[in-house]
Symmetry: C2
Subunit: 318 residues, 2 copies
Amino acid sequence: MSDTDELLSIRAAELYYEENQTQDEIGVILRLTRWKVGRLLASAKANGFIRIEIVHPRARRLPIERRLRESTGLTDAIVVSSAGVSSEAELQSRTAQAAADFLSSLRPIPRTLGISWGRTLHDVSLHLKQGWAPGVNVVQINGGVSLNQRTGTAASTAVTIAHKADGSATLLPCPAVFERLETKQAMEADRAVAGVLALARNAQAYLFSAGQADANSALVDSGFLTVEQIDDLVSRGAVGDVVGRYIDANGRIVDPELNERTVGIQIDQLRRAPLTIAVISGNDKHAIARAVVRNGLCTVLVTDENTANALLQEKDTL
Amino acid sequence: MSDTDELLSIRAAELYYEENQTQDEIGVILRLTRWKVGRLLASAKANGFIRIEIVHPRARRLPIERRLRESTGLTDAIVVSSAGVSSEAELQSRTAQAAADFLSSLRPIPRTLGISWGRTLHDVSLHLKQGWAPGVNVVQINGGVSLNQRTGTAASTAVTIAHKADGSATLLPCPAVFERLETKQAMEADRAVAGVLALARNAQAYLFSAGQADANSALVDSGFLTVEQIDDLVSRGAVGDVVGRYIDANGRIVDPELNERTVGIQIDQLRRAPLTIAVISGNDKHAIARAVVRNGLCTVLVTDENTANALLQEKDTL
DNA sequence: CCGGTATTTGCTCATATGAGCAACAATTCC
DNA sequence: GGAATTGTTGCTCATATGAGCAAATACCGG
């Protein structure tokens, strides 16, 4: 398109989108036929000069969702818009809301839902509406009873989700990681714990988040791991954790020994499950999001626009 | 509108604007009639959830231009969009381009055009196209021969504008400010200088910029004033300068004595002229822009979106 | 519970717009 | 210079959309 046509297309766009003139009226003003105006408008769009954004906390980015589905084989992808967000927290809240929406609209409604715990899932639980489902048995899929107040959220997340669904919560009364393998094995042998784990393994759907491998991890916060241990895991290729287990970019367990001492369902059980919903948002979680998606650890990803774009970027450069 | 309708309007907007579905198709997806979809879309727009931006260096903001004209009595207002700009310099360049465009499209073409000098006008001169007018006599309206290399731009701005119009430039071979009143009067008595000033007073149109009153002023840069003098002017209410003369928020000369020692047309001559084009852009120029517009120093304002919004804001709070 | 008011819905009809096509113009290549 | 090709223009026609209106529904004070 000629240079002067480009300029005309901008003038036309101003009159069309900002002044709500019809293409006919614009034609009179710019001394063009209305067909020419239509073509200029189309070219302005094609050249990307017209940017249309939906600015709303609940806005999603459907084209990105579609590209994600196509390029990753995910069953579904939910991508919340980052248009107009002013803080990372706001973006995470939007993502949690979207996860709650997705969960609420899920058909058939899962009878048992396995969940992990953490800030993200807690956020999701708060965004669910009372009565979002008619009775769901929520079961924890990894240990979460910890040494400090963070404990509360693990249990309360499950209880809240279950309560709002007029259902029941089955807690896993157990730390995330044991120091000694023997203690862990003993614990798992316990009837109560074994029962919960069996239930967890047979859940119809899983909802979980993931953490980036760094000093801010919930596992460190709760006292299960030290910053030094995380550093060590990172140096061995860890990008983050899923249900308390640290994986590398290829989805492999980084430290099998540590993995053995970790209570909860195995990564492979997630891989095999037919419906696994990962909720991952935040600029520091791109690496772990990539690991989760690339290695089939989830069938549904709920995330934010920035993270989604990072995943797509990645695909492009393959 | 109900809460659930708001959410529906966002879903509809996603399908309409991002997925290019027809309202009919959206109706099928959301289980609504197509009329309802149309209404939801309209409400999304009315609620400001749909943001349409024209992202292009030449894009203007017509609604803001209109509001500016209506609220200030300007004959014309040109407001360049700040969508997608990454630096203040880029915004100023866009504004200069718009000023050049406006000048080029001016009818009737002024036979003599009075201009001031400075970074902004120099920028405008560079953006003009060769042959933008068939012969214009460009005359400097304030002194500009200075003590250092900045000199060049004052003369070259006039020469460039004239040259590109296949016209002639009449320079004012004279400093902006004299130290002694007597010297200035002697200079003005000189036939050559008096002739240029007479020409300047009778120009059919004026093109000028304005400077914020601070240490970065071109007057300081060129050595006509010291930072201390500026500080003094500011303390006496100066907001900036127009054709080398410092005015306060009410458009009044701040220092009559200094004004007397300044060479060029008077502020009142601008006020009386039928076509005076002010080009003012930049976040630090809101105050001087306001003074210029509020006190009728220009009939046409070329500015950027941020400055224009600042002017409108101001009006709202009156 | 009921009459009246306000809001929402489904519709008709006029208008705005995009797809597709033939005629035309411009450019390239021999 | 002229034929071939490419791109552009003006158009017809089918479709999408918004305005306006009557019917239906929801809301509210008694």
